[in-house]
Amino acid sequence: MKLLSYFRGEAFQRGVHPPGCKHTAEAPIRRLPFAPRLTVPLSQHIGKPSRPIVRVGEEVLRGQPIAEADGWLSVPQHAPATGVVEAIELRPSARGSWAESIVIRVYEASTQEVLWGAPQDIDAFPPQDIVLAVQRTGMVGLGGAAFPSHAKLTVPQGAKVETLVVNGCECEPYLTCDHRLMVERAADLMAGIRYAMRATGAGRAIVGVEDNKPEAAETLRRVLPPQGDIFVEKVPTKYPQGSEKMLITALFGVEVPSGKLPLSLGMVVNNVGTLAALGKLLPVGQGLIERVVTITGPGVARPGNYLVPLGTPLSFVLDYAGAQTQARQVILGGPMMGQAVASLDVPVTKGVSGVLVFRGEDMAGREGRKTYPCIKCGECVESCPMGLNPSMLGMLAARREYDLMGSQYHLGDCFECGCCTYTCPSNIPLVQQFRVAKQILREKAAA
């Protein structure tokens, strides 16, 4: 109840409480079989696409690097299965545009053991070498942003990192992959936290877990190392707590200044999925070839948390999970910020945390809704975690006053969490208008 929270002072100001729908929270992580063909896009991260280092017709082993990092803000790609490179060509991607990808035909008879990689003693590495080792794993932020992890763990000259914040909020409804990771792979996570602390020079680490996952918090507390420099903190459940700035506010009671990184407050934020994967991959020197994906939604017969080889096409994933034929919308990520895909040939990539399937009748409630003019109820102002005025921004967007939106009403601070659109009783597609406005402003700035 908003009235009470006003006095109580919740985790961060404003935000929304969508129904959790975490139906798969109890489903253990299971392995998905290999699809006959895997499509590995060369750009699964923010930054420059990787450069392929294999030729068409070449046999690749599972875990073998097939593309190398092109520059600093780029990561290598590894073969997700043993097979033969069938093509290097344009393939559909989640964004809609086609992207250069390596297609691997999987050998059915292969044992699919990971034979690549050499064990390394990370504890003996100096921080710069840990960062390089992280880049060699091809790790990106597995929470969804897909920002190269080694770049995030690099501390620039003159800056000092005091705290590593580990983001275990998973505030998006339906998604449970981070929850299962914290429960099942707590030891890997602790190892990953240790490596990240060493790489950044952080003196302490704080794991923020939303209080709708008490099991995860308990499990983590049991495996805390005796040094006492890693803490687990429950934060009140609220969307969008998984945004790093909101989590910092919930934990520390400070706001990261607008336009600055958490680094300016001596913090680095990493997702639990990323650190758990690092904890597993770094000591054995292997690359990122699979990730945990929550496959859920009313349109799936066997929802659950699956360990999916990267590059598995969605059609194969949905077949395995038993997607019903009435499925009408397939979303990569959570329902609040996820991307609806146009084609089921789109592969699961490093940044995909969930596959959500809605049927026609699940969307009927939204489709049948009429769009009214803004009645100025102020719900969006009360829900915007960035403290903007979406009502005013929406009216300006309708009049195409994009410059005014950017200069006077802080459009640049919007991170498109969708809270305003979620609460709008008039059913106005506010966040979509803001995306368009931001894109137009970007194009104007570039021109």
């Binding site: 934990l251 403290g387 995306r435």
Partner: protein, 382 residues
């Protein structure tokens, strides 16, 4: 497997709140108030509510049909306008004048601006202001509540023919052995006779034959339901009542007996009803939280000023209309502070972990000091 997928933009889920739901809940919360009004004044009140609401709905339908305004009857907003308007009119208000008020409120208050969400002034109050100017005698004619025969006969003025002067209620009351005093509203009695009705009688509206509207207590309870379910913003009524009570208290304690006590100010007339149902009209009140406080405070102070220092006994209506007019201006100066752009990086919440103090002080020092708009310091001469 072939699945035809559709592309939509995020978010893919939607909160169940809708315009219809909000408006319907306001209507539900008004029903007990209407029932109490009918219980007070009988047949005439029921006829007035029905006719005024029907006039609003018909006018809305006509304007939507001709494409003049957005919205539809199913959004309940015209129903709210009709009910609110009927509850602010005297129970014995001639029905044809009530119909004029209803049509005027939709036509001048809503359709003129483009329909739901676009109106600048509260439509119900526009309608009331229209008939107050058009029929000043009829709108000042109140009758006492709880008359014995109220469920069997109409107040005579109710059934006036269109364009004809209504029947004289004073003579009708005299025949029933009520003096003219009983049919004066408590505010009019204070203004013109200096008689202050005890606040405790006003709160329930149940103490004998008084010319008062629905019980303020009932209105507060119904408004409380709306505020708890968040169909109404609680800040506005709190600000209106707080500022009205405070300014009345200041004037009362400074000048004493010449002015009534603050409780009388709060519970007399339409202040509670206006604060809870009229001032909170979403389209005509600010969206920014700080703006809501300012808007409510403005209305409260204006109400007291109009009541004390003008020729009119009641000031809520004009205070709210002035507040409506000031809303765009208020919104302009009360835009919310974006995250991380305030003068201090310390959020309102206390964190469980403390940041290294170096970081806070460094950021605080780097934070821009807000530009002074007024009373700028003149540059010192060397």
């Amino acid at each position: 497997m072939t699945v035809l997928t559709e592309i939509r933009s995020a978010p893919h889920i939607k909160s169940p709140r809708s315009v219809e739901q909000i408006m319907a809940n306001v209507v539900y919360s008004l029903l007990p108030v209407c029932a109490f009004f009918i219980y007070q004044y009988g047949l005439s009140a029921a006829a007035s509510i029905l006719v005024v609401t029907a006039a609003c709905l018909l006018a809305e339908r006509a304007f939507v049909r001709t494409g003049t305004q957005a919205g539809s009857l199913s959004d309940y907003s015209a129903t709210i306008t009709g009910l609110l308007l009927a509850l602010t009119l005297p129970p014995g208000f001639p029905l044809w004048m009530g119909a004029v008020a209803g049509v005027a409120s939709i036509a001048l208050g809503k359709a003129l601006f483009g329909g739901i969400g676009f109106n600048v002034f509260n439509p119900a109050l526009v309608g009331r202001a229209f008939v107050q100017a058009a029929f000043p005698a009829a709108i000042a004619t109140y009758t006492p509540s709880f008359l014995p025969g109220r469920f069997s006969e109409f107040i005579p003025s109710t059934l006036a023919w269109p364009l004809m002067a209504p029947a004289n209620t004073a003579a009708w009351l005299k025949a029933m052995h009520y003096d003219a005093l009983a049919s004066a509203s408590p505010l009019a009695r204070w203004k013109f006779e200096g008689f202050v009705t005890p606040a405790i009688d006003l709160v329930t509206s149940l103490a004998g034959h008084m010319a008062v509207g629905p019980s303020p207590l009932l209105v507060l309870v119904c408004g409380g339901y709306l505020a708890l379910r968040r169909f109404m913003d609680w800040r506005i009524p709190v600000a209106v009542l707080g500022s009205a009570g405070l300014s009345a208290l200041i004037i009362y304690s400074a000048f004493g007996t010449k002015y009534p006590d603050p409780f009388f100010m709060l519970f007399s007339g339409g202040l509670i009803f206006g604060a809870v149902y009229m001032a909170t009209d979403m389209a005509t009140s600010p969206v920014t939280p700080r703006g809501m406080w300012l808007y409510g405070a403005l209305i409260g102070v204006l109400t007291v000023v109009i009541r004390f220092y003008s020729g009119l006994p009641e000031g809520v209506m004009y205070a709210i209309l002035i507040g409506n007019a000031a809303t765009p201006l208020i919104e302009r100066i009360t835009q919310p502070t974006p995250f991380g752009k305030g003068p201090s990086i310390l959020a309102r919440r206390q964190g469980s972990y403390t940041l290294h103090p170096d970081y806070i002080s460094r950021e605080e020092a780097a934070a821009k000091t807000p530009k002074k708009r007024f009373l700028k310091n003149k540059p010192k001469k060397p």
